[in-house]
C-alpha cells in the first residue's frame, strides 16, 4: 500500500468517529445490563426488607406457633431447629471437608488427587433436592424415619465438598519453603502439616467453612425428605425437626395472612443472617490479609 498521507490520516479520523459511537452504545448497553443485575438484587432485598422487617419482633423469635387459624405465635421452634441441624451438619461436614482438603493438597498423588477433586466438584454440583433424596434412602428409610439427624446429615453432605475444595486451594497457597523449613528441623510430615501449613492457611480455611455454613443455613430441599419439619418445639434430633426454610415454605402456602407475614419475617431473618456472615467474613479476611 502507499505511504500514509495527511489526508489519509484525516479519513481515518472520520472512521474513528463511527467506532467511537459504537463504543459508546456498547458501553451503554453493558452498563444497563449491569444496572439491571444489581437492580434485581436490590429489588429482591428491598422487597424482603419491606415485607419482613415490620413483622420481625422479639415475640416472633421467642414464641411458638399458635393453633392453626389463631393469630399470633412465632417461629422459635424453627430458629432452634435450624441452629441444631446446621450446627450438627457443620460439626461433621466441616472437619471432614478440612481433612479431605488437607489430603488433596498435601498427600494425594496426581491420579488420586484428580479423581477425588473431580468427585468433590461433582458432589458440589449435585442439586440439593437430590442430596435430600439420597439422605432419605440411606438414613431415613432404613432407620427410624424423619429426624433432625437425617437433616444434619444432608446439610453436612453439602458443606463437605465446598470446604474440601477451599481448604485445598488455600493450603496450596502456603509456600513450599515453609514445609521444607519445618521438615529440615526434623519435624515429622503430619506435624508439619498440622502445626505449620494449616495455621498459615487458617484464615482462608475458616472463611471457607463459615461461607459453607451460611450456604446450608439457607437450604430447604435437602430437609424436605429428611427433617420433614415440625410444628412443635423439639430439641430431640431423633425426631422430625423444624427449620426456618421449611417454615417459610409451609407458611407461604397456608391461606392465612398472619402466617404469610411470619414467613416474610423468617425470610428477612435468614437473608440478614447470611448477609451479616458474608460481610463479616470478608471484613475479617481483609483485615488479616488472606495468604
Amino acid at each position: 500500500m502507499s505511504a500514509p498521507t495527511v489526508t489519509g490520516s484525516m479519513s481515518s479520523l472520520t472512521l474513528g468517529r463511527r467506532r467511537h459511537l459504537t463504543d459508546l452504545v456498547m458501553r451503554g448497553l453493558c452498563g444497563v445490563a449491569a444496572l439491571g443485575a444489581a437492580a434485581v438484587l436490590l429489588l429482591l432485598l428491598g422487597h424482603v426488607v419491606i415485607q419482613g422487617a415490620p413483622a420481625l419482633s422479639l415475640q416472633l423469635l421467642t414464641s411458638l406457633p399458635t393453633p392453626l387459624g389463631v393469630e399470633g405465635g412465632g417461629i422459635a421452634h424453627a430458629v432452634v431447629g435450624s441452629a441444631i441441624m446446621v450446627g450438627l451438619g457443620c460439626l461433621w461436614g466441616i472437619p471432614l471437608g478440612i481433612a479431605a482438603g488437607m489430603f488433596l493438597s498435601e498427600y494425594a498423588g496426581a491420579r488420586t488427587g484428580s479423581f477425588v477433586r473431580f468427585t468433590a466438584d461433582v458432589l458440589s454440583g449435585v442439586p440439593s433436592i437430590v442430596i435430600g433424596i439420597f439422605a432419605y434412602t440411606i438414613v431415613v428409610a432404613p432407620l427410624s424415619g424423619f429426624s433432625g439427624l437425617a437433616g444434619a446429615f444432608a446439610l453436612g453432605l453439602i458443606t463437605l465438598p465446598i470446604v474440601a475444595r477451599t481448604t485445598e486451594e488455600v493450603m496450596r497457597l502456603v509456600p513450599p519453603e515453609l514445609r521444607e523449613a519445618s521438615l529440615a528441623l526434623g519435624v515429622p510430615r503430619w506435624r508439619t502439616i498440622l502445626a505449620v501449613v494449616l495455621p498459615t492457611a487458617s484464615t482462608g480455611v475458616l472463611t471457607g467453612a463459615i461461607l459453607a455454613l451460611a450456604r446450608v443455613a439457607g437450604e430447604t430441599a435437602p430437609l424436605i425428605f429428611t427433617a420433614l419439619g415440625n410444628n412443635f418445639f423439639s430439641l430431640d434430633p431423633n425426631r422430625p425437626m423444624a427449620s426456618i426454610t421449611l417454615t417459610i415454605f409451609q407458611y407461604a402456602i397456608w391461606p392465612y395472612e398472619y402466617l404469610h407475614r411470619q414467613a416474610w419475617a423468617a425470610s428477612f431473618l435468614l437473608v440478614l443472617f447470611i448477609l451479616i456472615v458474608n460481610v463479616s467474613v470478608r471484613l475479617a479476611a481483609r483485615n488479616s490479609g488472606v495468604r
Binding site: 515453609l178 523449613a181 529440615a184 519435624v187
Partner: protein, 289 residues
C-alpha cells in the same frame, strides 16, 4: 539439657568489617583433621533426569566447606542429599553413601526425620513461620518434636539467638512476629531456629544470595564464628564469599547431559590460588559461569 552444647561465641555481636580479605589466612594444620562426613559415589535424580553423578568428598570436623559452581551444576542438590531433604521432592531419589559419624544415612534403618535433627539446614530465602513470634520460631523445632519445658525452651532460645548473633537486636521483642524483622535478621532467625535443635552439621543453601551486602557480611561473620562448634557446608555462587568463609572448597560443573559432577575439592587457598583442574581455573578466573 544439651549435653552437646558447645561454648558459644558469647554475646558480643560480630563487628561488621569494612574490608574483607579475599583469602582468609589459614592456620597451619597441626594434625590431620578428623573426618566428619564422607560422601561416596553419590548420585541423585529428579524423575528420569540425573542431577549429580558419583560425587565423592570428605568433609573434616570443625570445618566450613564451600560448594561453588555455575547455575544448574547440582550444588544445591548435593547439599539437599546430605540431610535427605532431596527426597522430599516428588519423584526424587539418591544413590550412594553419605557417612556421618560412622553411619550411612542412606541405610534403610535410618529415620530421615531423626537425621534432620542432626543435620540442620538454612535456605536461600529466609522462611520464618509467619504464624509464629520470634521466640516461637526459634523453639519450633523443639516444640514440634514434643519438648515443652518452658525453662528449657527459654534457655535454648536465648542461647540459639546469641549463637546466631541476633539476641541483642530482638531480646526485647521476642513476642513480635518473626516476619516483622528485616531480611537479614529473618535469615539469622532461621539460623537460630536451625541451631536450636543442636545439630552437628549445618547445611546452608546460598544463605546470603537474597541479602544486601551488609546483611551478607553479618552472615559471613556468623559462619566464621560457628566454625569452631559445628560442621558447615555452604553452597554459594559468590566466589569471594567462598574464599572469605570456607576452609575447603569443592567445585562442581554440569557436563553435556546437564549432570553435575565434582571437578575438584581442596583447601580453599589452593583452589583459589593454584587449582589443579583447568576448568576450575577457568571458572574462578571468571572465564565462564
Amino acid at each position: 539439657m544439651h549435653p552437646g552444647a558447645r561454648s558459644t561465641s558469647e554475646s558480643t555481636p560480630p563487628v561488621i568489617r569494612t574490608e574483607a580479605p579475599m583469602i582468609r589466612p589459614q592456620n597451619p594444620p597441626v594434625e590431620a583433621p578428623a573426618i566428619g562426613m564422607r560422601v561416596a559415589r553419590l548420585s541423585a535424580w529428579y524423575g528420569k533426569h540425573q542431577a549429580i553423578r558419583d560425587v565423592t568428598l570428605d568433609i573434616p570436623e570443625r570445618n566450613v566447606t564451600a560448594i561453588i559452581g555455575p547455575s544448574g551444576c547440582g550444588k544445591s542438590t548435593l547439599v539437599r542429599c546430605l540431610n535427605r531433604m532431596h527426597e522430599v521432592v516428588r519423584g526424587a531419589r539418591a544413590e550412594g553413601e553419605v557417612i556421618i559419624g560412622g553411619l550411612n544415612i542412606y541405610d534403610p534403618a535410618v529415620d530421615p526425620v531423626a537425621l534432620r535433627r542432626e543435620v540442620g539446614m538454612v535456605f536461600q530465602r529466609a522462611n520464618p513461620f509467619p504464624t509464629m513470634t520470634i521466640f516461637e520460631n526459634v523453639v519450633a523445632g523443639l516444640r514440634l518434636t514434643g519438648r515443652h519445658n518452658g525453662r528449657e525452651l527459654r534457655e535454648v532460645a536465648e542461647r540459639s539467638l546469641q549463637r546466631a548473633a541476633l539476641w541483642e537486636e530482638v531480646k526485647d521483642k521476642l513476642n513480635t512476629p518473626g516476619t516483622d524483622l528485616s531480611g537479614g535478621q529473618q535469615q539469622r532467625l532461621c539460623i537460630a531456629r536451625a541451631l536450636a535443635v543442636n545439630p552437628n552439621v549445618l547445611l546452608m543453601d546460598e544463605p546470603a544470595s537474597a541479602l544486601d551486602p551488609v546483611a551478607t557480611l553479618r552472615i559471613e561473620e556468623l559462619i566464621r564464628a560457628l566454625r569452631d562448634e559445628i560442621m558447615i557446608v555452604i553452597v554459594t555462587h559468590n566466589m569471594q564469599q567462598a574464599a572469605r568463609v570456607s576452609d575447603q572448597t569443592a567445585f562442581m560443573l554440569a557436563g553435556e547431559e546437564r549432570v553435575g559432577e565434582l571437578i575438584e575439592v581442596g583447601p580453599t587457598t589452593q583452589i583459589f590460588t593454584n587449582p589443579r583442574d583447568k576448568r576450575t581455573e577457568d571458572y574462578i578466573t571468571g572465564r565462564f559461569g
